[in-house]
Each structure stands twice: as C-alpha cells, then as structure tokens.
C-alpha cells in the first residue's frame, strides 16, 4: 500500500524576468507521510518550507515553476492533475492552516459562511445538516456558544479564537491531510499551548495526518513523530523526533539545537556563524559548508549525497556515512 502522501525529488524554482535569476527555493525534496502521522518541517525563513507546502496544494505564485519531481497522493501524481482537479482536492483531501488568522479569514463573511463553505462544496451538505455540521465543528475547536458565535464576524474574535476558526474550516471538508504553516506564531504562549493541544485532540479524533511547518524546535518536540530539517531548499536531515533531539546527524541540526535557549540554565548559546545563503547564488558543494564547524575540503567541492543510517534516519553530510561518526 502506498503512503498517504509521497513527495519525491520535488524541485520548485522561482524564475525571474526572462529567466535571468533562478531561485532554487525547493531543490530535490523527498519525504512521505502516513495516515495519522505528524510530520514536522523545520528550518529558518527562506529555506523553502512554505514553498514545499504550497507546491503540494499548488498555491504557488505565477513566478514559481515545479521543474521536476512528483507528489503522489495515495499513489496518484498530483502534478499530472488539472487545476480543476486540484481544486477538488484542496480542502477536501488536503486542507491548510496559514500563519496569520486575520489574513486567512474574510472580514466580510460571517463565521458560519466561512466554516460552512467547505462542507457545502465538498460534502454536499445543505440546510439543517449543514448548520448541524458547523455547530459540531465549532464545538470541536472549543468555541463557546457556537450558535451565537457563528453569526458573528472575524473582527469580533480574539486572535486565538480566529485561529481556532481557521482550524474548524480546515476540518470542515473532512481532509486526510492538514498542512499547518506556522499556525501559532502570532499567538500568546498559553493560547499556543491550548491550540497545539486542540490540534492533537482533533488528530486523535479524526486520524488526520498533519504536516507541521515551523521554525520552533520546541513545537516539533511537542507535536511531531517525524521531522525533516530544511536548509537552503534541501532536506539535510530526516528522522524520528527522538532521534533528532538525541542523535542529531547533521551539523546544522546540532547547531540549531544548541542555539535554543533552555529554561533554567544560563549556558552560553551557540550562534551559527554567518547568514543563510542567497538561494539564487548558492555556495558550491554543500550549501551549509561556509557556516559549518566541521567543514572539510570535500564539502567545498562536492555536495553530499543522502546517507541512510541503520535506524532509518537520513542525512546529507559527508560526516554521517552510515554510522554515527559525528557523535561527540
């Protein structure tokens, strides 16, 4: 049985005017997602996390081109589908939750209209059944007095409530995959915890698979089963969440973990030297080598191929050739 979603060697480039400038935002990304799983996609801004997600649901800006690869949803290649067919998949099979709840809700439509829309189109519900479904969805995302709230408008809600409404909309079409692109960045810490717990509960209840895009390793530790670390358009490390925290294979992953402030200690933080590279002018060899503490001559010339580890982890680093040679 094929995995629920299988992204293989995906390449999405942004092509500038007359092809003068090519930004390799996603450059050979592969991963797969099983039903009910939570997959984390971590990296700094501009590393291609969001472009990867937008390629899956084909919500890319006009300058973007998917130049290579395949995205298989239950064995069917999404890249071969027409825009109309993709539209039927969006919201019904794959739903998205975006970062800014204010921008993803329409201020001119009531909460009812917005939550009902996917259920109306994708599940064909009408009348009393539709209203019943909206009430259920709002209750599931713990909106108090849903009957009253569904007649209100986004501006009458707080940030946390708006993001929960967006969560209800994502659920409305009964999707198998929800892509959550930094859903909690604009929320307060206590509200963030509420929201993350809510997503987990929804997942438990419906068995939906989650793709969680974030730059926060703490969220990864809390939410994910499997994690991919992205750097400059490539997945540099992919493994289970425990493996990532206890045996990081790639120097970039280790550097990210060391740069996280931890509660209760005042140990100096590790600061990764330099800046993330310009995606239109990547360094030769491994993209991370100018910032890497372990860089060798080989890294400057040749980009490392994907190395598979015994426990199923993969990393793109010359140092991690099959065994844990980078262990300290």
């Amino acid at each position: 049985m094929p995995p629920l979603l299988h992204v293989k060697d995906l390449k999405t480039y942004y092509v500038g005017f007359r092809g003068t400038r090519v930004v390799k935002a996603v450059d050979g990304v592969s991963f797969s997602l099983e039903a009910g799983e939570t997959f984390g996609l971590v990296g700094e801004s501009g590393c291609g996390k969001t472009t990867t997600c937008h390629s899956i649901v084909r919500l890319l800006p006009p300058s973007a081109r998917i130049v290579d690869g395949s995205i298989e949803l239950e064995g069917e290649d999404l890249l071969q589908k027409s825009p109309g067919e993709i539209r039927a998949i969006r919201g019904r099979v794959i739903a998205t939750i975006l970062q800014d709840p204010m921008a993803s809700l329409d201020p001119l439509f009531s909460i009812y209209d917005q939550v009902a829309e996917p259920a109306y189109y994708h599940q064909g519900l009408r009348g009393g059944k539709l209203r019943q479904r909206v009430r259920e969805l709002l209750t599931a995302v713990r909106i108090p007095s849903p009957e009253v709230r569904m007649r209100e408008f986004p501006h009458q809600m707080s940030g946390g409530m708006r993001q929960r409404i967006v969560g209800a909309i994502a659920q409305a079409g009964g999707p198998k995959i929800i892509i959550a692109d930094e859903p909690t960045t604009n929320l307060d810490v206590t509200i963030q915890l509420q929201y993350l717990n809510l997503l987990k509960d929804l997942q438990r209840a419906t068995g939906v698979a989650l793709i969680f895009v974030t730059h926060n390793l703490g969220i990864v530790a809390k939410m994910c089963d499997k994690v991919a670390v992205m750097y400059a358009g490539k997945i540099v490390e992919l493994q289970s969440v425990r493996g990532l925290f206890y045996h990081p294979r790639h120097p970039y992953t280790r550097a990210l973990l060391d740069s996280m402030p931890k509660l209760g200690t005042k140990e100096p933080l590790y600061a990764i030297p330099g800046q993330p590279p310009d995606l239109a002018a990547l360094p030769a060899g491994c993209s991370f080598h100018p910032r890497c503490a372990y860089a060798m001559d080989r890294c400057r010339i040749e980009a490392p191929a994907e190395q598979s580890m015994a426990d199923g982890a993969t990393a793109k680093c010359w140092l991690s050739n099959g065994e844990d040679s980078t262990e300290d």
């Binding site: 700094e44 810490v189 509200i191 915890l193 390793l217 703490g218 740069s259 402030p261 005042k266």
Partner: protein
C-alpha cells in the same frame, strides 16, 4: 547592595475610554495598575506576560513617552515623572530603546550613519567629523564594519538591522536600554547572535536592560531578575534561576507549563489555562487571575492579594503562599 539605577514605585497608567472631544469618560483601561520594581546598574530585569498585560505601556512609561497617572519612576535618585525640558532631554539620553521589528524601526530613507548619528546630534554639540568617528566605533561595537555607515537599512539582513538598532540605542552612552521583544522577529540562528551580543555589551559597558518579551526561555537566559505581569499587575518577582526552579504563582506555573519542551521526553506539569486574558476595561474582582486559576478559592474573588516576599528576593501575589 548597590543602589538601583531605576526604581519604579506603585506606577499606574489608566487610559480613558469613550471620551470624544468633550464627551463623558465611559470607563478606564487600567493598563498598568500599581507596579513596583527596581533595576540595578549592569543588570537585566525581564518582564514577561501575554499580550495586553501592560508590558508595552510599562516600557513607554519608563521611556517617558507616556505620562504616568500615579506613582513614581526614580532614575539615578531623581523622580522623572513630570520632568520637562532640558532635564527630560537628559533623561532620554540615558534611557534608550530597541524595538521588536527592525524592519519598521529604522527609517528606510536615512543612511545607517545618519540613523545612528541622529541621537548624538540631538543630544550633544559635537562636530560632524566626531559624529562620524563615533558612528564607526558603534558599528564595530555591535559587530559590523565602520564603512557600512554609508549604506541604507534595506541592504542589511534582519539580524544586522537589529544590531543597527542596538548601536543607535548605545550611541548616547545610555545607562538603561529598554528591549521590547528584541529577538521575537528574528530567525532561530540569528536570535542566538543577538542574545550573545546583548550579554557581551552588558559585560563590557555595564549597561542595564529592561527586557520585555513573551518567550520565557530567552528572558530567563538573559535576565538577572524576572517580573511576571498579568493584566496590569505584577504577580511574581524573583531571581531568574530561582523563578525557573520554583515558580510559585499559578500564572507563572502555567506560563512555564506552556513554554515548549526542549526535547520530546521532557516531563511537564500540564497546566492548561482555560479561556483568554480578560479585558482590562472590566478586570475581574479580587485577584485578576482567579477566573482562569485552577487553584482559585472563594476569597480570591473578594480581595486582591498583595505582592509579598516569601523568601529573600522572591515576591509573589497569591493567597496560596
């Protein structure tokens, strides 16, 4: 014990609501409602709390950008509330600010040299040549090259822009810098750079920080003392490590519980708060936290608990202690 650099006593700021021209005031938002804290020279006070708790209003009061309704702010032995003219200018020279978003806090029309030089020109009467050399020194101090003074802010990355903002804050030899969420808008790998830079500058120059943020881990890392704020009141004040080891107030505990784990097997006491921060226009009676508090008792709703010292340097406002 050295004298505090800044001492805030019973500070209040109430904003009127519903006043239109000569209309009647319909209510007051008690954004800051009687808070007291002190910052020693060369130390950092972290101020944490959720949005709407009054952190930013507090910073504006300390910066003398808002006038306090009541209370006092004593800086180097002098009350600055109601200060005017030359004395206010002098205070503002010594207290500077770094904002959250380095994209909107630097004017895109000015060159970096003018941005950093502006406070110097405003406060000191020195030649352009001297200003230029001071700007060069400041740029080096924050880890940039002196020749970058010719450039415009758009030519810098987010982390570098935040360095520029820090250089500007240091340009007039400030004694206290208010850091209003200085790393929240930055990427993880850049965040560590800026936190490291702030620590280094404090060690070198002996400057004090009022560090305002909602990211507990970053605050705990940088601060000597932490004050936790909820709806205009301080609920707990303690040494940073002490607070991390034994948070007392239920709200502080909830904040710690809500902070994200540093690895997947971290055991956490889960305190999930119900509901959201109530409106500051109609704060709950008694302890303002009681409607969301898992340990609320009947008297919490009646009378507000005072901030009392439970162990040396550890103050908490809760009936449980």
């Amino acid at each position: 014990m050295s004298e505090p650099l800044l001492e805030v006593r019973d500070l209040k700021k109430h904003f009127p609501v519903g006043r239109f021209l000569f209309g009647k005031v319909r209510g007051w938002v008690k954004a800051v409602d009687g808070i007291s804290f002190a910052i020693k020279p060369g130390e950092t006070l972290g101020l944490v709390g959720e949005s709407g708790c009054g952190k930013t209003t507090t910073s504006k009061l300390v910066l003398a950008a808002e006038e306090a309704t009541a209370g006092s702010i004593v800086f180097e032995g002098r009350n600055i509330v109601g200060l005017k003219g030359k004395e206010l200018m002098d205070y503002r020279r010594k207290v500077q600010v770094v904002f959250q978003d380095p994209y909107s806090s630097l004017s895109p029309r000015l060159r970096v040299g003018d941005i950093i030089g502006e406070p110097i020109v405003t406060h000191e009467n020195i030649s352009r040549q001297e200003v230029r050399s001071r700007v060069g020194e400041l740029l080096e101090l924050v880890g940039l090259r002196p020749d970058m003074a010719r450039l415009f802010p758009h030519e810098f990355s987010g982390g570098q822009r935040q360095r520029l903002a820090i250089a500007r804050a240091l340009s007039t030899n400030a004694r206290l810098i208010v850091l209003d969420e200085p790393v929240s808008a930055l990427d993880v790998s850049i965040r560590a750079h800026i936190i490291g830079l702030l620590e280094e500058l404090q060690a070198r120059l002996g400057v004090s920080y009022l560090f305002i943020a909602h990211d507990l881990a970053a605050v705990a890392h940088l601060s000597h003392q932490i004050a936790v704020m909820y709806l205009g009141k301080l609920v707990e004040v303690a040494e940073s490590l002490e607070l991390c080891a034994s948070p007392l107030h239920p709200y502080t505990k909830a904040l710690f519980a809500a902070s994200l784990p540093s690895h997947p097997d971290e055991e956490k006491e889960e305190i999930v708060l119900t509901g959201e921060v109530p409106s500051a226009l109609t704060p709950p009676s008694g302890c303002r936290f009681h409607p969301r508090c898992p340990f609320a008792m009947s008297r919490c709703a009646d009378k507000e608990p005072e901030l009392v010292e439970v162990s040396p340097g550890h103050q908490v406002a809760c009936y449980l202690y």
